[in-house]
Structure formats: C-alpha cells, structure tokens
C-alpha cells in the first residue's frame, strides 16, 4: 500500500510539474524550477505534514476526530502571518512570522497543559489556544490598516500554494522534516496507548513524554506547513480514515502511509485548484483550503455513517 501511495505521490508531482497556468506542457527551465517545482514540493511537504500529524494525534489522543488544528498550533501560526500582513511586512516575512506564532503557540500549549501530560490536558489546552488564536486573527483583521492588508490576510487564511518561491520550500522543509522524523518514531508507543494511558505506562511507555513528543512534532510540522500554506483543513482528519479500511486500525501502521496519503491528496487538490480556472468560468484559482474542505467534508460524512452503523 505504501508503494502504491508513493507512486501516486510521484505521478501527481510529475503531473503538477507539467501543468501550468496555460494548460499542460513543458515550460522553460526558469518557469519549471522557479514557479512549478516549489509549488509541487510545498504541496507534498504540507500534505505529508498534515496527514502524518493527523494520524499521530488520533493515535496519541485515542480520538478518531482529532485533527492537527485541535492543538491550536496552526491557528497560532495564522496569528503570526496575519500580524505580518497587518504591519505590511514583505511576503518573505509572512512564513517567518508564522513560524514565530507557531513557536509561541507551542510554548503556551505546554504551559497550559501542565507538567504531567495527559490526552485530556493536551486537548483542553489546545482548544484554549485555538480559541485565543482565532480571536487574535479576527482582531488583527478588524483593525487592518487598509483594505489591501485585509484582503491579503483573509485570502492567505483560506490556504493556498500559489506564487510560492523556492525560498518558501527552504523555510518550511527543515521543520516539517524534523517534526516528521520525530513523529514517525512514535509508532509502537501509540500502539500501546490504544490500551489507555495507564496500561501503556504499565507496559513501560513513558506516557507524558510520548505526548510531549507528539505535540512537539505536530507543532513543528503543522506550524511550518501553516506558515507557508495558510489554513488548509480536513487533510489531517480525513487521510487516516481513508487508510484504515485498507491498512487496519493499528496506529503504527498508519503513520508513514498517512504522510504519503496526505501528500498525494494535497498534490491532487492543488492540481485541481490550478486547473479549475482553465475549465470553469472562474477569474482566479479557488483557495486550496476551500477545496480540501469541500472534498474532505463529504468523505467525513461517509466515515461518520460507517462508524455509526
């Protein structure tokens, strides 16, 4: 299954490289490497980060509804980015400010969740941070100094990968890969956590440390992903659910596959976003976050019906 997903990622990446604003076809090297390649690389990185984070959080919190947004880190990154728009800082400053916001959100998360972490403490702290972040985003938007800043920030919050430069890839890749490496090592501990935190502890799993590592890995990768891609929802929630019927429900079996599945899903969604103005009467690309929500929500309905049955 992982080979199938890896091939899908590869095929979608090639398709992405061959698709431009003017339709299918090879472009000159400049367009290919300065415009298309960063976009394809970011779609794979951001999608992979979201898919893997969703699988790890669902396992760590033993909750099929857990989503990377649950810990509020993406929201905190959004606050940083919106603040950058507010002060009219350049487009390079936006992802940097996003990373700063994510770091602050992560620090606050651990401060609120307490010294001995449990799933409940982590979720409560995350919900609080998400609420604070969303309030601060709205505050910054409502106080926007001019309509351009407001429009830019609003559009950014909807999520998208258009007009990203190679610099964005170099900024996002290290935290996403570092966080991903951290998360991929938690598999066996997440399996043990399926039996509850106390049983996991009796099996020698350091529960609090495992939750801290999971939250740190998610903060690194989702913070960086949101900093370059804006608010892209549903990928982290839906991808593990799409894979469970095929791979089974053991958390460790889902980690690598969810990273690949998330990358494939976001590459596909981003390709759809790019092609949509060519075939539909749209003046510009639909925001990627809107597309993933429109694609993801019906899947969620199907999952909900299957779980309820």
């Amino acid at each position: 299954m992982r080979i199938v997903l890896a091939l899908a990622v590869l095929a979608l990446a090639v398709l992405g490289l061959l698709t431009g604003s003017a339709g299918l076809g090879l472009a000159d090297a400049g367009v290919l490497w300065e415009l298309r390649a960063p976009r394809v690389a970011l779609a794979a990185l951001v999608g992979g980060a979201l898919g893997l984070s969703g699988a790890v959080l669902q396992g760590a919190l033993r909750n099929p509804l857990a989503d990377p947004a649950l810990l509020g880190i993406g929201g905190a990154a959004g606050v940083g980015a919106v603040a950058a728009f507010y002060w009219g800082l350049g487009i390079v400053a936006v992802p940097l400010a996003g990373l700063l916001g994510a770091g602050a959100g992560c620090a606050l998360l651990f401060a609120l969740a307490g010294r001995t972490l449990s799933a409940t403490a982590l979720v409560l702290a995350g919900v609080a941070i998400a609420a604070i972040a969303s309030a601060l985003q709205v505050l910054a938007l409502s106080l926007a100094p001019n309509p351009y800043a407001l429009a830019e920030a609003t559009f950014w919050l909807m999520g998208g990968l258009a007009d990203r430069a190679p610099l964005h890839v170099w900024m996002a890749a290290p935290p996403i890969l570092l966080g991903g490496a951290l998360l991929l090592r938690l598999g066996r501990r997440l399996d043990a956590l399926a039996l509850g935190e106390e049983v996991a502890a009796s099996l020698g799993v350091p529960v609090s440390r495992t939750l801290a590592l999971a939250a740190s890995g998610v903060a690194l990768s989702v913070g960086a992903a949101t900093s370059v891609g804006g608010g892209i929802g549903f990928v982290g929630l839906v991808v593990p659910h799409l894979l469970r019927p095929v791979l089974g429900e053991r958390p460790s079996a889902l980690l690598g596959a969810s990273a690949l599945g998330g990358a494939a899903l976001l590459l596909a969604a981003d390709w759809v976003a790019r092609v949509a103005p060519l075939v539909l009467p749209l003046s510009q690309e639909p925001p990627l976050g809107v597309l993933t929500a429109l694609l993801g929500a019906p899947f969620l309905v199907r999952i909900a019906r299957r779980v309820a049955a």
Binding site: D191, L195, E198, S202, E249
Partner: protein, 223 residues
C-alpha cells in the same frame, strides 16, 4: 516477589490504610472485598502505577478492570502489545498466549467485533504474551461464562505452579475458594484477613454480610 506497603490517599480521601502485602513465586492470591474497598488501588500499588511508584514492565504485568482497546485492531495485534516492554515480537510467545486463551479461531478478528467475554480473554492473552513473572489481574474472570472462568483460573494456577506470582481481584468467592492458594480480604481500605482460603472465609463473609461457608455437599465445581 512483589509487595506494597503504606497508605494511599487519592483526592484527599484515604483509600488504603497502612496496608502491608507481599506475594512470592508460586502463589495464586485472590483479593476479595466489597466494591470500593480498595482492591484495585492495592493492585495499582503493586503495579507501581500510584504516584511515585515504579515497577519493571518486563517482569510485572497489569490487567485493569474494564480494559478496552481504542481502535478496531485485530486480536493478534492486541495480544502482541504484551511484547512492548521487551521490544520484540516475542517469537512464539504471542501465538502461545492466543492458543492458551482459546483465541486461535479469532486471531484475525477485530477486537471491537467480539463479545465482552471474548475481549476479556484477549486482554488476558496480552498479559500472558509478555511472559511476566508477576501477574496483577483486576477481575480476570469478569464477563466470562462459568466454564470460561474456570478455564482462566486453571490457566492462572498453572502459571503459578510454573513459578509465577499471580494476584487477582475476584468477585466470585466460590471460584476463588476452588482455585487460589491464598485469599486476602480488603474492607474499607484495610486488609482485614490474609491466609489460606478456607480459614479466611469467615472474614470474607463478614465483609460482604453474606452467610458464606464451606459445604460437605457435592459441589457444582469441576475438579
């Protein structure tokens, strides 16, 4: 050998009063007593799960009351979690535990599709798969039909005879009397009796307020 000594207060309420308990290899100990007496807390203390506690997870295995698996994992996958402390796949230990608990036909089934009694046996198999020398089991026979309950107790007795130390919270006094080597009665946070099952029976009867006694009549129990 496993032991616990001291008092335990949870959320400001003393749950165990200066208890002293030790059990060694070859013992199959039943912990009995009314609901809320402190039996499960005693087991948690032995398992090193109370604040400040510690136990070697390779040596000591603990089965809580109402153990559940959050995901629809297969029976074999859940049983294999017993190998987590060892960091290996256990070779034949996992399959042996599955067979010992009568789960061979169910090994590929999702645990959330099984009955309560079958799930209980999967959780017991998870404990056995780690080949621990100390087994701490909170109601291992709950949800089991009478035949399965006796099978499980016979299995635990065999483990004890092979040198393991088994401490089990039991509610079925008859089942306990038939199988265990030692009985501990817990009431109101105190260990009120500890000894050979037949001798401890009056204390258990008093703890429950029920007229337990040994009968000469042919019993319903298998040999």
């Amino acid at each position: 050998m496993i032991g616990f000594a001291g008092s335990v207060a949870l959320a400001g309420r003393t749950v165990l009063h200066d208890v002293r308990f030790q059990a060694g290899p070859g013992e199959l100990v039943a912990v009995v007593g009314p609901n809320g007496a402190g039996k499960s807390t005693l087991l948690r203390g032995l398992a090193g799960l109370l604040p400040g506690g510690r136990a070697d997870p390779v040596r000591v295995a603990w089965l809580p009351q109402g153990a559940r698996c959050a995901w629809g994992m297969s029976v074999a996958e859940v049983v294999a979690l017993g190998r987590v402390p060892h960091g290996d796949d256990g070779g034949g230990a996992v399959e042996d535990a599955i067979a010992a608990c009568g789960l061979v036909a169910l090994r590929g089934e999702r645990i959330d599709r099984l009955s309560g009694g079958q799930q209980r046996r999967v959780m017991l198999a998870r404990v056995l798969a780690g080949a621990p020398s100390v087994l701490l089991l909170d109601e291992p026979a709950a949800d089991l039909d009478p035949a399965a309950a006796h099978e499980v107790m016979a299995l635990l007795r065999a483990r004890a005879e092979a040198g393991a130390c088994v401490v089990a919270v039991l509610h079925d006094i008859g089942l306990a009397l038939h199988h265990v080597t030692r009985m501990v009665v817990v009431e109101g946070g105190w260990i009120v009796a500890d000894g050979v099952p037949g001798e401890v029976l009056p204390a258990a009867a008093a703890a429950f307020g029920l007229p337990y006694g040994l009968s000469d009549r042919p019993g319903l129990l298998p040999p």
